[in-house]
Amino acid sequence: MADTSVLKDNLTNLAAGPKTNGPMPRFEAHTKKATRFGFGEALVVLGERYENVVVLGGDITGSVMTSYFKDKFPDRFFSMGITEATATLVAAGLALSGNIPFFATYGAFASCRNTDMLRISLAYNDANVKIGGGHAGISVGEDGATHQALEEIAIVRVLPNMTLVVPCDYLETKKATIAIGEHYGPCYIRFGRSDVPSFTLEETPFVLGKAQTFRQGRDATVIACGPMVWEALVAAYELENEGLDVRVINMSTIKPIDREAILKAARETGAIVTAEEHQITAGLGGAVSEVLAQECPTPVEFVGVKDTFGGSGKPDELMKFFGLTSGDIKNAIRTVHSRKAQ
């Protein structure tokens, strides 16, 4: 998908624009890898660490990479067939009996087919269940609208007690999966099907509930999640030529949201762009807007799917059509920067 060539010869600039100071994470962008692999690998790590981690299959174990765990720990893997709602309930029962169950399926069904179960049996019950929602967003590609999950952020974040994580790349997905596995409470993690740039390193910090500044900047801030973080970094890097010094925040935990990071960015840069592979309604953009409206009203531009359904096509084609590229983020930054001036 996203073009990585722009960064091949200047990885340092990606992390810290020349106009900013302070140490920033180092990134490397040589490979592309779907975030779902991070999820699958982390389950094996957790399975090795804790005997009470169990995994439920929803008849797409090979798609959401629960197959790794299944192969390694067949005794702790339980096939549920195509029963997303009840698999969620069974997970709740397993959790109430002291296990740490993961149930993963396509995000559309992991959040919509079982919403009442998330609400009552997970959230209200405070059950220690981890839901993995794969095939996030438009980049799913050819399968089309029914399989392109674009609503999870809204649906999960309206539920009390839930933790919601949308990691930015393969390695962060792995770290985030391990983190939610070790954290008590109902959690939802969102990850994708298609290859996206893999750029964070082992040393890149990940803390559940904390946003990470991936690039300093003073003129505007992009707050992004999922693969849009990479697009934001590319956009920020490229806008240097236009004299714009753009901060990039990786908002990998969306609930509870890191209010401090949002407010700091708003106060220091005065202009925000949110970028998410999700409906612009009620998603990350909404969460950020709510914080700002309550504490520091600031111009925001929203990059995301504009209240329409997805469709079939190649991931690249679709990301372009739906306005989910670094170019779209650049336009949004320019717009919000000019609004700030007003």
């Binding site: 005997e51 981690v53 109430l96 009996s97 049996s121």
Partner: protein, 316 residues
């Protein structure tokens, strides 16, 4: 390999502050709740003893509901015999003094609206003091209108109230016991019959049978009543037994208002290997109270004070 353990029970995030509602002291005295001694759970209890306990459960349901001024009468009264058999006939293993004893058997009330019967049963077993029954449905009571695990009431294993969800949770617990921990705990669940329309019931049934959860026993309160009318008019459910048989359950059909049939059914369920059991317990909604018996209009309302008095007379 390590276990990552967390405190799961009791959850005490019940959010309405520390002050619980105060039960009416006059009623406590009137009902003798202050001197109440909990009943024992034993396979040696006679059928007559269990019948008497069922009657006491019914009385407590009426007392709690009339004081709450809202809530569900019909299902709870109709199913009191099932609870008497389960909790006092030695079917379930539990310790009311140590309610979160890890080895306890689990009971999930999938038909959450029927909680008055569960609360009354638990109080009669000594899980919590009887006067608390008089706080049913009041602000910040541990006895929520539908079971809320956040209130930490001993004996409440899971929040329920959204029909069709509890069964899947119970199946998850049975899966944990039989396939993960490989312990000897048994898991019980009760559903309404109207509730069987929810698709999650059949998903849970498929899963329980697939994993051969013979440690799992579900009871259907087959009272042929739901809110809008008779079940067969609202949405035809018969033949219920055939349905569960086709879903690979061992099915026992019995009179759910008959203690000895119920005890036999639970005994049979325990002996079955390789498949879960479904006890289709034919009951009457509002059983034991003449003006409620078999009348679906009693699904979701409490008795008036006069009706309660009359009911308590009939329940002597």
């Amino acid at each position: 390999m390590a276990r990552l353990t967390h405190t799961i029970y009791p959850l005490t995030t019940g959010f309405h502050g520390a002050t619980r509602p105060t039960p009416n002291p006059e009623l406590i005295a009137k009902y003798g709740y202050d001197s109440f001694v909990p009943f024992e759970n034993s396979p040696d209890n006679s059928d007559e003893k269990l019948q008497a306990i069922a009657k006491e459960i019914r009385r407590d349901i009426v007392r709690a509901l009339v004081e709450a001024k809202s809530g569900h009468s019909g299902g709870p009264l109709g199913s009191a015999d099932i609870f008497a058999a389960l909790y006092f006939g030695g079917v379930m293993r539990y310790d009311p003094k140590n309610p979160w004893w890890p080895d306890r058997d689990r009971f999930i009330l999938s038909a959450g609206h029927m909680c008055p019967v569960l609360y009354s049963t638990l109080a009669n077993a000594g899980f919590f003091p009887k006067p608390e029954l008089l706080t049913l449905r009041k602000f910040n009571s541990r006895l929520q209108g539908h079971p809320g695990r956040d209130m930490g009431l001993p004996g409440i294993e899971s929040s329920t109230g959204s029909l069709g969800q509890g069964l899947g949770i119970a199946v998850g617990m049975a899966l944990a016991d039989k396939r993960v921990d490989k312990n000897s705990r048994r898991v019980f669940a009760l559903t309404g019959d109207g509730e069987l329309a929810e698709g999650e019931i059949w998903e849970a049934a498929l899963i329980a049978a697939h994993w051969e959860l013979d440690n799992f026993t579900m009871v259907v309160d087959r009272n042929f009543c739901q809110i809008d009318g008779r079940t067969e008019d609202v949405l035809k459910l018969n033949p219920v037994g055939d349905k569960f048989r086709a879903f690979n359950f061992h099915v026992i059909e019995c009179n759910g208002n008959n203690i000895s049939e119920l005890r036999a059914a639970f005994k049979e369920a325990r002996s079955i290997k390789g498949r879960p059991t479904c006890i289709v317990a034919k009951t009457f909604m509002g059983h034991g109270i003449s003006f409620m018996q078999d009348d679906y209009r009693w699904h979701g309302k409490p008795p008036t004070p006069e009706q309660a008095e009359q009911a308590l007379v009939e329940l002597v």
